[in-house]
C-alpha cells in the first residue's frame, strides 16, 4: 500500500512537472518576421522615443545624448526584488548587435530571449505585444545605428520563488495581454492615441493598478486610474478623466504637459515621469494631441482608496 502511494505520488509529481514544463515553454515566432519587414532607422527614432526604451536601458538619470547609450544597468527596485535592465545597445557581445529581427520580435512582443528563456514582465512586452511589425522593424534598425556599449549585463537580484524563470511562463499564461474596452468609434486620431498610450507608451504598466496585490496583470476595469508606485513609496497618479484624475485638464493641457512637463497650474513633472516626459517631448505635436484626446476619451475611474 505504501509502495503504491509512493509510486502514485512520484507519478503525479513527474506529470505535474511535465505539465508545468510544457505550459511554460517560451513562445517564439517562426522566422518570417525578418523576411517580410525592412526597417527604416529614421522612422524608428520616433518609435524609440514613444516606447520609452531609454528610461530603463540608459543609465538612471540619463539626459539628452546619454539617453542613446543603451548599456543597461539601470536598477528597478520593486517589491519582488531588484531588476537590472539589460544592455540593448548594438554591441555584438554585450548588447543585441548579433540579434536577428526575429530575435528582437521574440523579445519585444513575446518576452522570449534568443536562448529561449522568459524575460520578466518588468520588461513591458505585455504592452508591446500588439506593436505593429513595421514599427518593430523600424525600431530595430534605429537601435542598430546607436553606439555599442561594452557593459556586461547584471543579473537580477530576486528572492525565491521569483528567481525561477519558468515561473514567468505561468505568469504569462495567467495574465495575458488584455486591451481595455475603449470605444474610438473608428476615429483615426483616437486610434493613434490609443496605440501610443496603450502599446508604445505602455502607460498602463505604471498608471493602471495590478491584480493579485500588485503582482498580477493590469486591471483593465480600472484602466489608467493610478495606484501605488511600483518602485519605492509614493503614488502613481490617476490619468483618467475622473475628478480624481485629469477631469479639469483640457486636451491641450495634457498635450502641453507631455511637451513641456508643466501641469495647468505650472507645477512640474517629477519622479520617474521626468524621463518619460523628456521622451514624449521628442514626438510630433500631432502625436501628443492624439494621446491627449485618447486620455480624455477613456472611461473616468475613481482612484482606489488604499489604507
Amino acid at each position: 500500500m505504501l509502495r503504491w502511494l509512493v509510486k502514485l505520488a512520484t507519478t503525479v509529481a513527474i506529470i505535474g512537472f511535465a505539465v508545468f514544463w510544457w505550459l511554460t515553454i517560451p513562445q517564439t515566432f517562426d522566422d518570417t518576421v525578418s523576411i517580410t519587414y525592412a526597417g527604416d532607422a529614421a522612422k524608428g527614432e520616433a518609435v524609440f522615443w514613444a516606447s520609452g526604451c531609454a528610461s530603463c536601458h540608459a543609465k538612471k538619470g540619463a539626459k539628452d545624448e546619454e539617453k542613446l547609450r543603451l548599456g543597461g544597468d539601470h536598477p528597478l527596485v520593486t517589491p519582488v526584488g531588484t531588476f537590472y535592465a539589460p544592455n540593448i545597445s548594438p554591441h555584438p557581445e554585450f548588447g543585441i548587435g548579433s540579434w536577428s529581427l526575429n530575435d528582437f520580435a521574440n523579445a519585444v512582443l513575446l518576452g522570449t530571449s534568443p536562448d529561449g528563456r522568459h524575460y520578466y514582465p518588468a520588461f513591458p512586452y505585455t504592452s508591446y505585444s500588439t506593436m505593429t511589425r513595421q514599427d518593430l522593424a523600424d525600431l530595430f534598425e534605429f537601435i542598430k545605428t546607436l553606439e555599442p556599449v561594452a557593459t556586461p549585463n547584471k543579473p537580477h537580484d530576486l528572492p525565491f520563488p521569483f528567481n525561477i524563470s519558468r515561473g514567468t511562463g505561468l505568469w504569462k499564461l495567467a495574465f495575458p495581454h488584455q486591451r481595455p474596452n475603449v470605444d474610438t468609434g473608428g476615429d483615426a486620431e483616437l486610434e493613434r492615441g490609443r496605440y501610443l498610450v496603450e502599446v508604445l507608451g505602455h502607460c498602463g504598466e505604471c498608471h493602471t493598478p495590478r491584480t493579485n496585490s500588485g503582482l498580477g496583470g493590469m486591471d483593465t476595469s480600472r484602466w489608467l486610474s493610478g495606484g501605488p508606485a511600483p518602485e519605492g513609496d509614493g503614488k502613481i497618479p490617476n490619468i483618467t478623466p475622473h475628478e480624481d484624475g485629469l477631469a479639469s485638464w483640457s486636451q491641450s493641457d495634457i498635450a502641453y504637459y507631455l511637451e513641456s512637463g508643466f501641469t495647468p497650474d505650472f507645477d512640474s513633472v517629477g519622479g520617474s515621469m521626468v524621463s518619460v516626459q523628456a521622451n514624449m517631448a521628442k514626438l510630433p505635436k500631432s502625436d501628443l494631441n492624439a494621446m491627449a484626446k485618447y486620455l480624455k476619451a477613456i472611461p473616468p475611474v475613481a482612484s482606489q482608496k488604499t489604507p
Partner: protein, 151 residues
C-alpha cells in the same frame, strides 16, 4: 538690477547653514509649501504667456521672476532634521540623505533665475520663451529626485 538683490537671491538657493532647527518642524513644512505655491503661481504668470494663453507682457514677466526670487528666499533652510514627514509633505527622504545634491539643484536654479532677472524686461515673446526654458528646467531637475508624490 541692484547688487543686494542679486546676493539675496544667491543666498536663497545656495547652501544654507541649518540654523533653523529650533523652528517648529510643522511650520517648516507649511512654510515651504506656501513658498512653493508662490513660486508655482508666478511661474504660471510667465508660463501662460509662453503657452499662448495670455498676451505677452514684459513688465509682468520680469515682476514674476522677481517674485519667484523673493518666494525662494530661505527655501533651502526649510528642511531641518525632523521635518522629513508629516503635514502631507511631498519632500523625498533623499533631501536629508543627499543634502549636497539637493542644494546643488537649488544653486543651479538660483543662478538661472538671477540670469533671467539680470537680463531685464524680455524684449519679445521669443526672449521670454528662452529665459523661461532656462529657469523652468530646474523645476523638473529637482522634482525628479527630491519630491515624492503621495496622492
Amino acid at each position: 538690477m541692484n547688487k543686494s538683490l542679486k546676493y539675496m537671491i544667491f543666498s536663497v538657493f545656495s547652501a544654507a547653514i541649518l540654523t533653523t532647527t529650533s523652528l517648529a518642524n510643522a511650520d517648516a513644512i507649511a512654510d515651504r509649501k506656501a513658498k512653493m505655491k508662490e513660486v508655482g503661481k508666478n511661474f504660471g504668470i510667465i508660463g501662460k504667456m509662453v503657452k499662448g494663453e495670455n498676451p505677452f507682457d514684459s513688465k509682468a514677466a520680469l515682476a514674476a521672476y522677481m517674485a519667484i526670487g523673493e518666494a525662494g528666499t530661505g527655501f533651502g533652510e526649510l528642511f531641518p532634521e525632523g521635518s522629513e514627514t508629516g503635514g502631507e509633505t511631498t519632500a523625498s527622504p533623499k533631501i536629508w540623505s543627499d543634502r549636497e545634491g539637493f542644494q546643488a539643484k537649488g544653486k543651479a536654479f538660483g543662478e538661472d533665475l538671477v540670469a533671467a532677472i539680470q537680463a531685464g524686461e524680455p524684449a519679445d515673446l521669443d526672449a521670454l520663451k528662452a529665459s523661461f526654458g532656462s529657469v523652468a528646467k530646474n523645476c523638473k531637475a529637482c522634482h525628479e529626485g527630491y519630491r515624492v508624490k503621495k496622492e
